[in-house]
Assembly symmetry: C2
């Protein structure tokens, strides 16, 4: 069958199950039943602190086929995923599903666990490095499931993904399981992705290298959600957890794109008091924030909130009074960590609150402007941030589809050509975000507006911005690079791309 975007999908995928095809960004909505959580009640005098992973695994019932969850706030510094899976592998457990909110190069040891059958399934919103490469090569027994950040909360809440054990990398915890992300040598700030794990996993384990006297303060995940606490020497490498600083691009093309994007924002009429804004941590995205900052300051505009993964640039905007609040699901740099630990207006949000399509209203629903990246865009405005142009996995939606769906104005900023490859194509290798959610594509050579947004086309026509059709933009790129050769893919499905509502928006096939 084909979904509404014309993507060929099987009815059933081994290891995944029946495929519910994507039918449009808000078609699968309405009344949704969440799963029933099962809790082992803890009575007074019971202790939760265990000496190490071995002692922990002695206490919990282990079996083949378990689902083990992790959150990724420690990013490429995370030790916890490897420690936990190694410990389970030593016990001879097989067929594990690793449900990590994201996977980084540091998780390379998973590749061996995939090869020897310890790990046979992976869920992630983003993956890069050796694991992503191995999945692309078909080294995982079953297809990986790529979801969105909000989609992961939905998966857990709905019970579509039932987690047996969640390991929560806890920068700070007390012996009764109260956790925060803002203190300790491995402080990462927000732990927004871990909240759903703590709510919905059968067994919740806090793994900490900063055990503090009861009670931890502040508390981001509360004791009533946590079964065990494991003390380890180190949960991560601080150098990999947060960047010292995130940097605005110095590339003149990136700066030009940012300037044009800011003009699009202004022309849209959304840059005004009470506005809300989100951007990523990439160099060009940050440059857009910088442009916006200058405009807001010049015009005396005070926005309501900025959201998302938070960088020092956004913190500066808060501190300069340009936004009243921040909603933070993940801190990207040290300044963000420091801010969330001291400024009450810098608020932590869970990934469900951030982007879940099936709760009572996520923060993305209140977003005015979202700045997005892209690896590929097609003439239907579908965006790929999941696979490289050679078909291998090198990323994933993260919050891409969530924010695109929620925001009033979703702007993709990208160079028209990267590494001699045009970014705009007839057909993206993989659809991460459907074109209906993408309003504008801004490149250094031209700007294309989604034809659905006739209002915006009118507004931009009144400016001197180089507005053209997406086909014109594609032709322009191809005139520079020649028409790119279609990549050749096998029939083997190595990953399923779930839209935020749990429907399948695409599948990823192994490159030939």
């Amino acid at each position: 069958m084909k979904n509404i975007l014309g993507r060929e999908l099987p009815d059933y995928i081994e290891g995944y199950g029946e495929v519910q095809p994507f039918e449009g960004a808000f078609e699968n909505s309405g009344v949704k039943a969440q799963t029933a959580v099962v809790v082992k009640a803890v009575t007074p005098n019971e202790e939760k602190l265990v000496a190490d992973f071995d002692a922990l695994l002695d206490k919990v019932e282990l079996k083949d086929g378990m689902v083990i969850a992790f959150h990724h706030h420690l990013r490429n510094g995370d030790y916890v995923l490897n420690m936990a899976i190694d410990a389970l592998a030593k016990r001879g457990i097989k067929d594990l599903t690793v449900a990590a909110s994201s996977i980084f190069p540091i998780h390379a040891p998973l590749v061996d666990h995939m090869k020897n059958g310890v790990v046979t399934k992976i869920y992630a919103a983003y993956m890069s490095g050796p694991v992503a490469k191995a999945v692309s090569n078909g080294e995982l027994k079953y297809p990986a499931i790529m979801h969105t950040h909000g989609g992961r909360a939905r998966l857990l809440e709905s019970g579509d993904l039932h987690v047996d054990i969640a390991f929560i990398a806890a920068p700070t915890a007390d012996e009764y399981g109260n956790i925060n992300g803002v203190q300790g040598k491995s402080a990462c700030g927000s732990i927004g992705y871990a909240m759903a794990d703590a709510e919905y996993a059968d067994i919740v384990v806090a793994v900490t290298d900063n055990l503090v006297p009861y009670p931890a303060c502040p508390i981001h995940i509360t004791q009533d959600k946590v079964d065990y606490v494991v003390k380890v020497d180190s949960i991560g490498d601080p150098a990999g957890i947060v960047s010292g600083t995130t940097q605005i691009t110095k590339d003149p093309i990136g700066l030009k794109i940012a300037k044009m994007a800011s003009e699009v924002m202004v022309a849209s009429g959304l840059v005004k008091d009470g506005m809300s804004f989100q951007t990523g941590a990439g160099g060009t995205s940050l440059a857009v924030a910088d442009e916006l900052k200058h405009i807001m300051k010049e015009q005396g505009i005070v926005g309501s909130f900025a959201a998302g993964g938070i960088t020092g640039y956004i913190v500066d905007m808060l501190n300069e009074g340009l936004f009243n609040s921040l909603f933070d699901v993940q801190c990207f740099d040290l300044k963000a960590v420091q801010s969330i630990s001291t400024n009450p207006h810098h608020m932590l949000m869970s990934s469900s609150m951030y982007g879940n399509a099936h709760n009572k209203g996520a923060v993305v629903n209140k977003l005015d402007i979202m700045i997005l990246g892209a690896t590929e865009i097609d003439t239907d405005f579908n965006v790929n941030v999941t696979t490289a142009s050679d078909g291998t996995i090198m990323g994933g939606s993260g919050g891409h589809s969530d924010t695109a769906a929620g925001s009033k104005l979703a702007i993709v900023v990208t160079n028209l050509v990267k590494s001699r490859t045009p970014i705009i194509k007839d057909r993206v290798t993989t659809v991460t975000t459907p074109g209906e959610s993408v309003d504008v594509v801004v490149t250094e050579r031209g700007i294309a507006v989604n034809p659905r947004r006739t209002d915006l086309i009118e507004k931009l026509k009144a400016t001197r911005l180089p507005v053209m059709t997406i086909e014109e933009l594609k032709n322009l790129a191809e005139s520079m690079t020649g028409k790119p050769k279609a990549i050749e893919l096998s029939d083997e499905i190595v990953a399923v791309v779930e839209y935020r509502d749990g429907t399948v928006i695409d599948v990823i096939k192994k490159p030939l």
Copy 2:
């Protein structure tokens, strides 16, 4: 049948269902399934703000027999319960269950709704005033269900009580349902009892008199849990919401009891660094806090936390460095409200985190010393704080049984005789808290230790405190007042007293 305390219970109670008898404080524990929550997903552009109750009731499906929930942080200043039930009554809805965390004299209009069949069932952890009197007189169609604060969270989490609509009195809210309790003219501080309502009710309505621009900051209940926001002129009478100040007793007997209780605490060995403590807002209870404060200061003791409903006295102890943190489920006075809104070490806790026996470990489990009140105590140490000695309802457990069960040392402080009636009896009119959870009874004339606590008896014998058996204490009281006449009760059950685990610890019968 009889439960383990010898209380006669029917197998089945009309309007309540099958009776599961109380079998001991921790007998009903282990693995517990929570209920599956059903959520109506909110998509972008949908609005939650409605003009008034009428507009709200136009939007939700109304039917006879609904369960409507309220929290009681506005206490005797609360307007929301009456507004909501009046609005439902105007629509001709009948047979409502009112699940209010507590009921106060201000809720007197409920009595008419009981009489005319609009309200036929009530759940509450505490009730006083006209509603309590009417329930005692059998004016409610079905027996009221009296539970504990932690038990209410358990009722909602387990699905034993399914709430159709929760009305959350919101001192501050934005139009998308983010709520806090610390700002606005009706600020009440913590809204810990409302958290379970927001998690588990089918429809969650924020009722606010302080609608702020999105997003509210701080946020105690998040937008992803809230369906509608109703703006009203006033949610409550500030004079009834918080006391200006709470007062230590000036009664010399109360002060003597407090002094003795403090000596019991010291003798127990629990008054030391890292200790935790909770007391109520009554005059004698506060006097105990005052005694403890002096001891801690003198001895340079720093405790870990104080918990519960929080008063200015406890705030002072935090500010003087005597405790590292506070866990606050409800603020009793203005100083507590100010503190929770400014001091990060003054932490809000949900009622589940506070006292739910069926989660992964409540704060009461970590309590060292708990100071409790009593209306009656029997020679098995069972305590009644639910009914007066004439058999009418005038209170309820609140957190009494939760904290008694969790704490290492539960001390009841009470005058030996009140209004010429002895407090210690052969048999309490109603069991609120089982004797197994009560360690010591301190009166001005003598101290009785639960025989289970042989360790404590030894420790107290080494002091000059007037330790005696509970029977001796009872005889002493009776020597002053004469043996009290047993009250005469009918066979009509007007209320069921649920222990925190959902078993039935007693029933309340209509006095003759």
